[in-house]
């Protein structure tokens, strides 16, 4: 390839072109900087320009990201699993939201809302009657750390079949609340029905400890830890996004891996 094209011009021309170039460039910089300034002013306002903690435009893009990565999502894509011996003994406890102060594990029942006005209560024994599934996987926190951990419980898809929830499973979302309703998540049904998603009652082969959400928690390897709700009190189905604790604080609703 030849070197760049040469041109002979007068110094006046050079000056003229330089000034024009700088003016256009400066104008663009001013436009962008003022847009950014307006944006950051909106950012700090808790006004109608925000959607759950972040500006509406950002929320729109994050939701678009969800639609895009939903296309790639497949039940065939499994989280990597590890031998049981790789699982850590000291499992990190990263939060106690929704754990309650004087929670009585023995009185616990799962409140399963099949339809508005049609609620049943299940004991841990009802759930344990289903086939048990163990999973050892790399639990990933949205903060950036991860830990190989070992969990045991009932596949959510088995749970759906057992309790005649096929119709409900066709709805878009599943909502979960802690017994005190202080922590709550909403999860797309596709991710809930993923073969590695379990209603978990064991950790490292022993009953789930209190600080890990005894007696029953969610383990969903296709999501960040914020979605693995500890101590499930209520479970329901919806075609609209159920409320989500961290979503309201500005995090991505989908939070899928």
């Amino acid at each position: 390839m030849k070197n760049q094209t040469e041109e002979i011009v007068s110094t006046t021309q050079i000056r003229k072109r330089t000034v024009t170039g700088l003016l256009v460039f400066g104008l663009l910089v001013i436009v962008i900087v003022s847009m950014a300034a307006l944006f950051s002013r909106d950012w700090n306002k808790s006004s109608s320009t925000r959607a759950a903690g972040i500006p509406t435009q950002f929320r729109t893009v994050l939701n678009a990201n969800e639609s895009i990565f939903d296309l790639i999502f497949s039940e065939q894509h499994l989280a990597k699993t590890y031998p049981v011996n790789d699982a850590v003994k000291n499992v990190r406890v990263n939060g106690n939201y929704g754990m309650g102060k004087n929670f009585d594990s023995s009185a616990w029942k799962l409140q399963l809302i099949r339809k508005p006005g049609d609620t049943i209560y299940l004991t841990l024994e009802d759930i344990k009657a289903l086939p048990k599934t163990d999973i050892v996987f790399d639990f990933k926190c949205i903060e950036g750390w991860s830990q190989v951990t070992h969990w045991g419980g009932v596949k959510f898809s088995d749970f759906i079949n057992k309790f005649g929830l096929d119709e409900q499973a066709h709805m878009k979302y599943v909502g979960l609340h802690t017994p005190d309703n202080a922590y709550y998540v909403g999860i797309d049904s596709k991710s809930m029905l993923h073969p590695q998603t379990i209603l978990c009652y064991e950790m490292n082969g022993k009953p789930l400890p209190m600080n890990q959400g005894a007696p029953l928690r969610l383990i969903i390897p296709v999501k960040y830890g914020i979605k693995h709700l500890k101590r499930i009190g209520t479970l329901f189905f919806s075609n609209h996004r159920p409320p989500d604790y961290w979503y309201e604080k500005g995090y991505d609703y989908y939070s899928g891996l």
């Binding site: 094209t5 435009q57 990597k80 950036g144």
Partner: protein, 237 residues
Amino acid sequence: MQQRTIIKKHPLAIRWFHWINFPVLAIMIWSGLLIYWANDIYRLGWGDKTLLKFFDAPFYNTLNIPYRLAEGMSFHFVFMWVFFLNGLLYVMYLIFSKEYKLLLPNKQAWKESWQVLLHYLRIRKGMPAQLKYNAAQRIAYTVVILMGIGSLLTGLAIYKPVQFQGLVYLLGGYEWARAEHFILTLLFCLFFLVHLIQVIAAGWNNFRGMITGFEVVKKADNITEQEKASEQETNTR
């Protein structure tokens, strides 16, 4: 009337790609820092000995980094598209305009880049003959494209590790992919620093090229024949 030879150095498209990329990359690095803060485990050192921790409290506090993870993620996953699309268009432009021939390292580039370095260090006098970019620039600007691709791939691996498990495996696992993403970011910062110094050292004429597209040919004898003639004419009168 005085006249000068100018060369069309940077096509308009490249100037746009460059100046879009600059603030976008800055946003990506800043928002990445907001995310990294939540699990800031990297350091330079061995065993218990730490030479440099990434990063210390004064650094975070000065830049107002702490407790902004959600904000950082929202910025990162919005502007990633701009970074990706701008980079993709840039690479496509390089290919279709054949501009890549001026940018990719040529056969002599490895040998010559050494001579260029010696020249910058004031050890060697002249520069090897070059077209648009010298050998060191060819290498640096090609590497920085590869770094961009690397950032996108390592980023994708830690963003959707279950959906792209094969990619995570190739990068050495989830933890490694995160570390690689971080190291690439440090390299971008290093690139920026060197680039900035070089641009300042090269001076106004070179910098103007990235805005207006043209550069005045720097030759002592950059006075055209016509000009000489007209000067002579003036003198004779």
